[in-house]
Amino acid sequence: MLESLFDDVRRMNKRQFMYQVLSLGMIVSSALMIWKGLMVVTGSESPIVVVLSGSMEPAFHRGDLLFLTNYPEEPVRVGEIVVFKVEGRDIPIVHRVLKLHEKNNGTVKFLTKGDNNSVDDRGLYAQGQLWLTKKDVVGRARGFLPYVGMVTIYMNEYPKFKFAVLACLAIYVLVHRE
């Protein structure tokens, strides 16, 4: 069975095999280019994020998929849900803007809090950081899809499973001729 799986590959000539490799490359590239294209369109470095915690319940639950935009001309306002990064933490946080100070020259500093948390986020920020600024913002939530992100969460909780699935798909594409 396994042997017959690779029969196709063994029979391929050099060019056919190169095409198989390039097809796999193009599938990965297409996904990558769609992602990068979304980045350009939304202006956010990560236009789609998954909510990982329950800190924004009942607005967002663990596993919700969020679509973000980050247009520089749109001002941040109190009450908006922003996704921001904190130095020293890899994972961006989705929380609501609680207080905001805007200067005449357009610079802003703001404080955030999770709807479901009892205290504001100062404890989460980097040591000594009291406010967030525009450069910390990854994007603002524009829409969401419930539950879809659970797949990503499970995949990240079981990295071996994720790599196994990806490897199987890659091998399938590689050995299967259209």
Partner: protein, 184 residues
């Protein structure tokens, strides 16, 4: 020859696999028995387009890594749009230029060069293998022959391509296309 024929054992119920196996057998005949020289320009063109597209994507990835997003915006715009344009060109290339041609072979007859193009297609859930062979020579003659036969004619009960039958079929087509000129 017999070695390759032996290796080509496929799942005969898989239409795509059967088509590929018969295509390969025909290529063997064209370039082996009939002593034509395979020309790779057509497939190389496709490989080039694919490689270029993947290269553009890799370049965008690298650039975005070196100069994180807001800085890399312009390069990303260029890369993403050229990637999708390349995909469009690739689709046009395979549908209008390749048109299912799986082998292009050249043959010198005196001072005349004949170019043979074999293309095939199989309809979904159909056992009929449709083969079209086109011959062009430097005198401007273009002749075409096509055969539609069930896979059962080329593949035996075990799923092995019967090279002899394919060879006979192709040789027959080859001679009829080669000699047609004399009859005219």
């Amino acid at each position: 020859m017999s070695e390759t024929a032996e290796a080509a054992k496929i799942n005969k119920w898989d239409g795509a696999a059967a088509k590929n196996a018969v295509d390969d057998a025909i290529r063997e005949v064209m370039t082996g028995d009939l002593k034509c020289k395979e020309s790779f320009a057509l497939i190389d063109g496709r490989l080039f387009l694919c490689a270029l597209a993947v290269g553009v994507a890799l370049y965008a990835l690298l650039w975005d890594y070196l100069y994180p997003f807001p800085q890399s915006r312009l390069v990303l715009i260029i890369c993403v749009s050229s990637y999708f344009i390349l995909m469009g060109i690739l689709t046009l290339y395979t549908t209008f230029k390749e048109k299912g041609i799986f082998v292009v072979a050249k043959e010198k007859v005196g001072n005349n060069t004949r170019v043979w193009e074999a293309s095939s297609y199989v309809k979904k859930h159909d056992d009929k293998y449709n083969l079209v062979i086109v011959m062009r020579d430097t005198n401007g003659n273009t002749r075409e022959a096509s055969v539609t036969k069930s896979f059962a004619n080329f593949i035996d009960v075990n799923g092995t391509v019967v090279q002899n039958i394919v060879s006979n079929e192709i040789t027959k087509l080859y001679h009829s296309l080669s000699s047609e000129k004399k009859e005219k």
